[in-house]
Amino acid sequence: MAESRPPELDVDRLIDDRRTRIIVCCGSGGVGKTTLAAAIGLRAAERGRHVVVLTVDPARRLAQSMGLTSLDNTPRVVPGVRPAAHAGNGAESAGSLHAMMLDMKRTFDEIVEAHADPDRAAQILANPFYQSLSSSFAGTQEYMAMEKLGQLRRADEWDLIVVDTPPSRSALDFLDAPQRLSRFLDGKLLRLLTAPAKVGGRAYLRVLNAGFGVVTGMLTKILGTAVLKDVQTFVSALDTMFGGFRERADYTYQLLRAPGTSFLVVAAPEDDALREASYFVERLDHERMPLAGLIINRVQLLPAAHLSAARSQAAAETLQAAGPSEHAGSEEAARLLTIAALHLHADRMEQAAAQRRTAEQFTGAHPLVPVAEIPAQAEDVHDLDGLRRIGQAFGSA
């Protein structure tokens, strides 16, 4: 079989291109997406961009690695950004880096406060149903992440926004959740429920006659009357904002499709992660969202890659068969050390081969998607230098 290599994803070119205004990092959980988003942000800043990284991951370590004690809902400046030596992109000086972590409840509260008069806002914020919706509705986090992205873009204080998507059940959730929540909030059913509390509910009356009794009866059985009452109060208080939710969801959706936005799909070189990545690439294509490429993170790269697993294993067996050396001491130590090194190498070569096969399943199905590989790091990232090391992998592309 002829080996066909996928096009190389040039992340440096992407971040050096001033027309790139938003980079969305997506992928399934546990692939190192948040750390990569931070590494991309740092590299872009050191190559002259003014960057804000929006993360949803409450990882203290990530905050600490950027010299911040913690991240919150306000962009904080990351100290220690310096111009990249020989960036070769014409940038004379470093840009800047801000980082923030999404607080979904706070963001939701702010929308309410911005759109309702103080009395009504207070009423909504105190509603038990609102509290449950804003802190635990499956989809609120995704919706608020996109809302925050929209806010950052409108603020226009940064020329590049790097956003890390929530660790959803499925990587696609953040595309669907905003619409799901807005559909829910201005949905027929919610209006049906609240119709008795409103005067102008005539359009729904016909449906209402047929089904309302059954529907509320059922919901009361399941949830109890108190919940329904909370929902009704909430919805009538929120009434003026209904249109707003849909508009906002539409705005972010358009923003994601606009020129200047690029999606990076992040995966680990494993079956599950690459399968998710495949779904995601297909979905982005279907929605005509601009995919920049796939980043395969934590790839096993070996300095002695020219020594195959089989030869390494065979050599180890030769040494084992030879048995303990008659000359105790250094010769025997050499033998044991070599066996350990050869076994390790054979094992890692097999892992690398398995990773390559998995990656080839992806590239076989999506031959046109550019790919970049990030080598596995020996240690966890603890500081800006750790993030820089990851970013350097983009340079070799």
């Binding site: 399934s28 546990g30 509705f137 059940r169 829910f184 059954v214 059922m218 108190a226 090194a341 966890d380």
Partner: protein, 336 residues
Amino acid sequence: MATRDTDWDGVRLHVVTGKGGTGKTTVAGALALALAANGKNVLLMEVEGRQGIAQLFDVPPLPYAERRIAVGLGTRAHQGGDVFALVADPESALLEYLEMFYSLRHAGSALAKLGVMDFATTIAPGLRDVLLTGKAAEAVRRKDDKRSRVYDAVVMDAPPTGRIGRFLNVTSEVSDLARVGPIRGHADTVLKVIRSPETVVHFVTVLEEMPVQETLDGIAELRALGGIRAGGIIVNMTRPLELAAGQLQAAADGDIDQAQLALGLKSAGLDDAAALAAALSAELCAQAKTALGQELQQQRLDTAGQPCYQLPWLTGGIGLSGLYRLASALREQKAA
């Protein structure tokens, strides 16, 4: 039947959680196979709608129905029992619940078409959880006509560590919503099962900083909730290095005798021994650094005071045979 001590004798509901990417579903599958040794019947349940079990066992997508998907781990003395799988989703569980308590299946299906089910589970996230845990509790308690339990054990591939406390602590979740009423009563029954000694929560992790932190946080969270028991910590994808303890630190510091290594390589018949020794010692150094970091993480896990089990890294993917290997490893370590 000969009884054999395991760390979890008497446990019937094994809840398996873990951070994304740690192999939670794989471990849940292996645990189900291990528990189904000696002719026991086990239900493996999935609650997040990702069809992870179907992928793991390489079968077509599973419906909301209990299907036999594998034979448990065989031992010298006994054949394995049966492993059944169930993909539980809140909507189907709600329909089943309505039917069971109100004989409302038809009305329920009609309402499902209207989107009422989606609505109900949407405005009350706690409802979603109580329906899923409720299904597990029901399976644990179910008896056949001879009044013996249908399943010897139920293994639940649960939500990730970050959400596990909220997922299991159904009463407080639901009491915020349904202060009285049938769901509240249902939740109380479910919680009785979850808080009984028949239920434990196992944590799957790998030896990296973030998953270990989430494991420790998750165990602390369960303890703070009170009444829900933490089970074992299953360290997945371990790959020990063949170096003595003293050598490990030296190797991580880059203190590797390349001349010695070159000598060894030469006597193994490999060419260009000096260059190869340099490349291999770079590999050793990187892996030793990783291993030292892992030792540190293992020490942190040890402070949790829960039994720890090690599952090996399987080169070249898992597959069914790999799953049985992991199952025997769990059994040998008395996790099942």
